[in-house]
Amino acid sequence: MNWKKLPLYVVFVVLLAAPVVLSREVVEEVARSEEAIALYGFYLRDVTEEAGISFVHQSPTFDSRLDHIMPQVASMGASVSVVDFDRDGFQDLYVTNSGEGSKNAFFRNLGDGTFEDVAEEVGLAELNEPGTGVSMGTVWGDFDNDGYEDVFVYKWGRSELFRNVEGKSFERVTEKAGFPDWANVHAATWFDYDRDGFLDLIFAGYYHEDLDLWHLPHTRIMPESFEYAQNGGRKYLFRGNGDGTFEDRSELLGPDSPLWAMAIAAVDLRGTGYPDLVIANDYEVDEIYFNDAGKRFIAAGETSRIGFAPKSGMNAAVGDVLNTGQYSIFITNISEPGALVQGNNLWVPRSVFGGDSLTYENMATTVGVELGGWAYGAQFGDLNNDGTLDIVGTNGFISAGRGDYWYDFSKVAGGNTTIISDAANWPAMNGRSHSGHQRKHVWINDGRLRFRDVASAVGLTEVYDGRAVVLADLWNRGVLDVVLAHQNGPLLVYKNTANPERAWIGFDFEGVESNRSAIGTRVEVFWDGKRQVQEVMASSGFCSQNQRRLHFGLGENPNVEKVVIRWPSGRVQTLEAPEPGQVYRIVENESDIEA
């Protein structure tokens, strides 16, 4: 024994043990709701059944040449959006299905704790008829400013636009809109990019728009690379005229990059008053487009640092996580122990606004939200009303039988373009799971740059294959409830019980000079020396849309100093010292504010 080397051996052994200790996952387990409320400030209870909701998503079945990997190529389509379509003051839920001939569901909130499916009654059920493609998601916005929220149903196939007829029925107006007959659209959002008061629409494809997935000309449909694929679908930008017609202005986005789009969010990142775009892409870098005063979009992925290292971008949500009056961006990715550890991206701005030179730093690791499994949808929201934004994230790719497909997947994913891009080269899945049965995540924000995953502890224990998640105050109680849509799984509604000692404040908006949905309205609440900004958005997360209402948690005994509202028109309104515990209905240009 060389005793001189003993310290070296000790350090060596310690270093070998370090990875085991450092990568140990801490799972907080609390069974009782009272304990969870005391410890974390809230508890989630699955009320799906008692709310009268019964919906199970079905996946599509494409061309038989894809049979061997069908669960993988047909792994999306479960979505959920929140909208008060009949203006009764309660948030309703629209859910997509994706099996050929399956029906979408529209759960109207009856306000008494239950919902009823009115999809067939209002004409929004039969959207997956054979030959027309299948639904992937919906995004709601009042494109004709008549006061009722209209809907764009985006599909792998023929996407559809419906006009809301006074909250009673929906009229199909797709042809009038002039949208493409066929595209494999996977992400879309309404926004008013030129601030003319009429909503515009951007949507982006996943598979190439030339592909009819039920009648393939060949099997070379897969991404040409796992991280550098440029053979996805194109992007479309349509400028709304307010009368149901749209003008194709896709050229404003610059040269088309046919990436595999998963999510789009439109939000004013730089404080210019014009909405910028965040696009999360699978198999490539994520993208940011800065809005040049409504005249064009400038690709700023690389300069902002967001679009430099490629991962598998799944989700685009924005939130003022640090309470600095600026938005951070949460883009989920894939992490599977022993196979692939991309880690999520929480892009935090490095400078105050910063104009065109705005750059971001990925702080997912620093704050503790980096590992989310095969992650899909995620949303920011103050679940415990403590005054900081928390994150709910869902995940799970394919939960099937025994065995895992990861080995075969990784084998091909690293291969040459000619191999990876041809579905015929992919080994058969044979009923195996692939990052399935994953535990969901609820990261609560302690306000000091640290998030803690308390999902199991607060009652979110399901392990279905999650896709979309939305947050909404379903029963006007001043808390954010959670709704999750699952691929080949049920829609689940979780009722939130938050610590009643914590205060909150909510806002509903109606644009007059601005678009009537008030999409793009920026609201900043100042209280107890703190501030938090939120923006009215259409799409947020993955194939989902939160409630239009903005909800701010305020903590205990808050003293709200003021609320500054900047409308898309540029008009600024200030509310001085509003009382917490109420939802304020604010109409642009009106001085009277309804509580």
Partner: protein, 288 residues
Amino acid sequence: MSQSAQLTIPVNEAASGEGVKQARRFRYDPRYTPPLFITLILATGHWSFGILESLEKTLLSIGVAILTETVLSRIYLNKWPHLASAYISGISVGILLRSPFFWPFAVCAALTIMSKYVVRYRGQHLFNPSNFGISALLFLSPGAVAHLSVQWGNHIWPMLVIWILGSVIVYRVKRFHISATYVAFFFIFAWLRTLITGDPFVAEIAPITGPMYQLFVFFMITDPKTNVRSKKGQIVVAILVALVEMLLRLGEVIHAPFYALFLVGPIALFLELWWNARKAGRLQAAVA
């Protein structure tokens, strides 16, 4: 790869004298060629393709590798080390390891260098240092790290350029037979796997068309310090690495090549050193 600093052009040891010493002082040290070469590739690749997931993480692993080498060399060898090897080890860790965290890069770089000082037999380290560090992290911390897969794309041209350049480099240092043997047997065993699993042959050969294998084939399994000495032995070891990798692949082990080298390399070297020592002992006994 970490030892590609060992792939040096021999300096003329016969040269001597003060003038020569003076000339040597300013002469370019060929041991800097591999680090310069790999730095150039990385810099070009990073600023054009973004091949490094994080420049900061790569710099961290390089820094820790150099620091560890310097400290251990001063303590245990009582000399200032030539840092080319540690520099390349750090870069290897930076390229081949993937993690959203910083700590794996530091821990892996430290383990990589320390393995040379800890796991030794008859005065020689047994493990390929970066293979040891990376395999240890992949095995001990699967939830926090993965290995490189497609960091410079899946297109044919970059792949061909690196295969050609790599071949030229290993040919010049007389190690092409190792790479060629491994590649040939990878294909043979891929065909065998196809027969066993029923998966398409192209799926089985897909991994070797990716960038991770380019580094593995040219810079890791050819490491002169941790390879057996005889050419025949090197060929046998390359075949055994491919064979063990095939067995691991049949068990659906994702990091099969790293683990195969981790298992085969040190055992082969140990056996050779042991055999040589035994032979030398017998020879000495016979002479005596």
